[in-house]
């Protein structure tokens, strides 16, 4: 492995490093294009056709169509790029982040109002916090933004 990744042992977290950035290049650049209102309109009019203009993998396109942000992030997406996609669909950062936990919007909002997710048990893979792989999904949401 070329890059040293001291962050690989954090549960429920993908660090946007050079490897992820390379993988997600066109997915993220597609998201950037949605900063222009005319592109947002074209995308919303025919999502599949707009996606097909970009050299993304079929998996990446499907993850976008599904509104599956966890999958988008695994495939190289970064949340600040994906935020343009969310905004285009009228979704807030809170809705986007919440969708990735498997909670409903109400469940996630309630967690935040109660002080947010606890750090205990969520520092290292293999602990028993609610962000650990064996405890997913966390709620009654669809896991999808759309």
């Amino acid at each position: 492995m070329a890059l040293h990744k001291p962050y690989a042992d954090i549960p429920g977290t993908v660090i946007f490093d050079a490897d992820q950035s390379r993988k997600g290049y066109w997915l993220n650049q597609f998201c950037m294009s949605l900063m222009k209102p005319e592109n947002r309109a074209r995308y919303l009019a025919d999502r599949r056709a707009y996606l097909d203009e970009w050299p993304m993998t079929e998996e990446q396109k499907q993850a976008v169509l599904d509104g599956d942000l966890n999958r988008c992030i695994q495939l190289g997406g970064n949340i600040y790029f994906l935020a343009k996609l969310g905004a285009t669909h009228g979704k807030s950062f809170q809705q986007m982040a919440g969708s990735m936990t498997g909670m409903t919007e109400e469940e996630y909002r309630a967690m935040m109002l109660a002080g947010g997710r606890r750090i205990d048990g969520n520092r290292y893979l293999g602990e028993d916090g609610d962000a650990q792989p064996h405890r997913q999904p966390q709620g009654h949401g669809s896991g999808r933004l759309l």
Partner: protein, 285 residues
Amino acid sequence: MARITASVYTSHVPAIGAAIDHGKTHEPYWQPLFAGYEFSKQWLREHMPDVVFLVYNDHATAFSLELIPTFAIGTAARFPIADEGWGPRPVPEVVGHPELASHIAQSVIQDDFDLTIVNRMEVDHGLTVPLSLMCGQPTEWPFKVIPFAVNVVQYPVPSGRRCFALGQAIRRAVERFDEDLNVQIWGTGGMSHQLQGPRAGLINREWDNRFLDRLIDDPAGLAEVPHVEYVREAGSEGIELVMWLIARGAMADVAGGPKPRVAHRFYHVPASNTAVGHLILENAA
């Protein structure tokens, strides 16, 4: 001679900007947060700077994956407000200070900081939300702004140590500028938050408050904290806090002067996904 009179630290959560823009600041959800900035708005009116050197990060707005500067200094006369996907925020354009910005760029590049100089750049919520929090909704911002964008999006981001040293170089540069200017330096972003994955929504009050304590009393020690601790303890987007060390490094005590006065300290959870932290430190006059 120009001088740095104070530093201001604040989160720059986009939802805060939306709450201001849509007149929701008195709603029960938002009221406690904006109450924490009432002092700050008054303080700013009484300590109005000529120029704010505003350290923030671009959130994949001006900089896509085509080009990622570690440190970018805005030397333009004006900086338009970006459309981040909802249309541009309804706030005034940002007016720069090209002469001071170029002077600082020249000085810190000669001090071995490898800046990228930017003359055309739109600014996003990272820069405009702190302005709104501190100034409210004026028709023009009441001071000039030098935008200073730090890469905290694609790993590796600059280390805390590097940021702290850069702040010191910025202070030296400002003090070498001939014109008599009152300059504040603002550090923005953070505190604990994670916007992605099953760990989204992470908040770490204890770590955040320890960060505030150490930022005030032990910034050099705090600057040694490695990236991975920010990510592990304060969430993947908590890494933004390294930017606060740039502002802190520019304070007088780091160069052997007196300790800054803590004019204000505030902490609140939540704003959207995020813990909000806020500090105002004044240099002795």
